[in-house]
């Protein structure tokens, strides 16, 4: 629980900045979807066809900053799992593909939509996200984002939909 709380308070890390319309086939290639099931191994293939340095160099807490429609394409959840497992602390994008955005919530990976912040943040800089305060702090200034809806917060606070559902099953 302390870990969850920590995750939800302050996220601090280096920025990996990408453009518009990055699809799930380059985040996690389709050819691995039925042959790779260990999340640790998934992390090795994260962004393989987009940025071959990413999986090697990503550090826990690093933040992906992207343009519009991040994660469009397939519904594959591995495209979130591989980033979560690689240590990504949050994704800030101009917009998220619908299923991708849901998958983020379900894997307790913070997905923030804020176009102005995306334009302002530079690749490689260190930024900080204050989740409770709804603030993004970067070299160019601070940007705010709206609080998460209660149901979304419940799932993220539980550590993801798996744990959330497990608790619901136990309550029954």
């Amino acid at each position: 629980m302390t870990k969850d709380k920590e995750q939800l308070n302050i996220i601090k890390g280096r920025v990996w900045k990408y453009g518009d319309d990055v699809n799930t086939d380059v985040i996690f290639p389709g050819k691995y979807t039925y042959t790779v099931s260990d999340p640790k191994e998934m992390a090795q293939y994260a962004l393989e066809d987009l940025d071959s340095d990413f999986a090697k160099d990503v550090q826990p807490g690093d933040i992906i900053v992207a343009g519009k429609n991040w994660g469009n394409g397939s519904s594959r959840e591995q495209a979130v799992t591989c980033l979560k497992e690689a240590g990504v602390g949050a994704i800030i994008a101009k917009s998220f593909a619908r299923i991708y955005g849901r998958n983020c919530i379900n894997n307790a990976l913070l997905a923030i939509t804020n176009s102005e912040a995306v334009d302002a943040i530079q690749n490689g800089e260190e930024i900080e996200i204050d989740v409770a305060a709804g603030q993004i702090h970067c070299a160019a200034g601070s940007f705010s984002f709206p609080p998460l809806p209660a149901n979304v917060l419940n799932i993220i606070q539980a550590g993801g939909l798996i744990e959330y559902t497990r608790r619901q099953i136990n309550e029954k």
Binding site: D21, N23, D25, V26, P29, G30, K31, T33, Y34, T35, S37, D49, K68, N69, N72, G73, S74, S75, E77, V80, S95, A97, R98, I99, R102, N103, N106, N107, P149, N151, G160, L161, I162, Y164, T165, R166, Q168, I169, N170
Partner: protein, 419 residues
């Protein structure tokens, strides 16, 4: 309050009188669709502490993505699913070779007007061809539905697409779909519920219509709906798994956006690598060399599509140095194509006919291209690496253009092939 289709169906299923966009509702789907990913979902379900599924009759499970299994790993995956289906008493199970989930949902009378289909597959909006609310969800969400029987959904804003007039001869629903995506962009329907209206839509056969909600996933839409009419009701006669009640949007419903097209303006289209919205008229690509032509998938693997391709291939040969792969979307399509003589035409033309399923669409097997090769495909995605090879190119087109290009060995219009 006047409601769009999605506002109305989500209100009804959530037991509310109305809903507004942005509202979060909890619904129990009529159908929970999963495919080869049923095995990993089962893993998540167990991790959640799930033992018996909430309602075995809610499930529809299809082995289509890598079917029959191309490797031991895939085969083990299928084995786990067959075991799960037996243990849980799931009746709507379609084993390898029966066909692609979205096609079978329609053929088997599982996708019904006024119902909600949630599927762990991004092309679940396909069910909208029958007037259902079909939306793709993730694996954990599917496992949670298995356990709890419900899921939260955000009520989407709606996009109304109206297509006036009639498509010209030689222009297909695929061309219309590519034209619209090219116009609106791959995020033109992001988060939105898309409704297809207008006389050009109603004039299409059920098979042609299916291409529209299928490919709307490529615009980021949540679901995609065609108002069900007599064509749908006739098709469902004796086929529907349950009695159903259609749901229609109110005439004065509020849409986030209304877009109108004239069907006359549309000509045969191509989506060039590596984006589905990278669409331009076919004429601009004439002469582009191809190595492989692929006819099949949930987008264009139906009898009508095979008939259109067979008409082009009749008495013709696939160009030397090129190859053509044909995969009927279901066993039923395969059988009917055989009875109609299309399969014979394909084989005589030198094409390869493979067993029903998704085939090489997402690069699992049955026609993965080599580095540098070019594929013209009747599928719905041309992303880099989609067919299993990063440095290869995929052009998307209608079945007749795929067939004509196979004969010419380069992208070409069907009317250049003499029959």
């Amino acid at each position: 309050m006047p409601q769009t289709f999605s506002e109305k169906i989500l209100a009804q299923k959530a037991g509310l009188s109305c809903t507004t966009p942005g509202q979060i509702v909890e619904v129990t789907p009529n159908v929970a669709l999963s495919h080869d990913n049923t095995a990993p979902i089962y893993g998540i379900f167990k991790k959640m502490g799930g033992k018996k599924v909430f309602n075995p009759d809610m499930h529809a499970i299809f082995l289509d993505h890598a079917a029959p299994a191309p490797s031991t790993k895939h085969a083990e995956n299928h084995k786990i699913i067959r075991q799960f289906v037996r243990e849980q008493g799931i009746k709507n199970f379609y084993d390898v070779g029966r066909g692609i989930s979205h096609q079978l949902m329609v053929e088997e009378g599982l996708a019904l007007p006024g119902e909600i289909v949630l599927g762990s597959d991004s092309h679940t909006p396909h069910a909208g061809v029958m007037g259902a609310f079909g939306a793709g969800i993730g694996r954990s969400e599917m496992a949670s539905i298995w356990a709890l029987g419900k899921l939260w959904l955000r009520v989407p804003e709606s996009l109304k697409i109206v297509v006036h007039g009639q498509l010209k001869p030689g222009v297909t629903a695929k061309d219309l779909a590519l034209y619209v995506i090219g116009d609106l962009g791959n995020d033109g329907g992001l988060y939105l519920s898309v409704e297809w209206h207008g006389e050009a839509i109603q004039a299409l056969s059920l098979s042609s219509r299916a291409t529209l909600p299928n490919i709307t996933a490529e615009m980021g839409a949540k679901n995609s709906y065609i108002p069900p009419d007599q064509v749908v009701f006739d098709y469902l006669e004796g086929r529907a798994k349950r009695p159903y009640t259609p749901i229609y949007p109110d005439a004065n419903a509020v849409y986030a956006r209304v877009v109108e097209y004239n069907a006359d303006d549309i000509e045969p289209m191509i989506a060039a690598p590596h984006r589905v919205d990278n669409t331009r008229p076919l004429s601009e690509f004439a002469g582009t060399r191809i190595d492989q032509a692929f006819l099949g998938t949930c987008t264009n693997g139906r009898l009508e599509d095979l008939a259109a391709a067979a008409a082009v291939l009749q008495g013709q040969k696939v160009a030397s140095g090129a190859r053509m792969i044909v995969i009927p979307a279901s066993a039923q399509v395969y059988l009917e194509a055989m009875e109609a003589g299309y399969i014979k035409t394909f084989i005589e033309a030198g094409a390869i006919v493979e067993s029903p399923g998704c085939g090489p669409c997402m690069g699992n097997h049955m026609g993965v291209p080599a580095v540098g090769e070019v594929t013209i495909s009747a599928a719905n995605r041309n992303f880099r690496g989609r067919m299993g090879t990063r440095d290869s190119e995929i052009y998307l087109a209608s079945p007749e253009v795929v067939a004509a290009s196979a004969v010419a060995g380069e992208i070409t219009a069907p009317d250049t092939i003499n029959n």
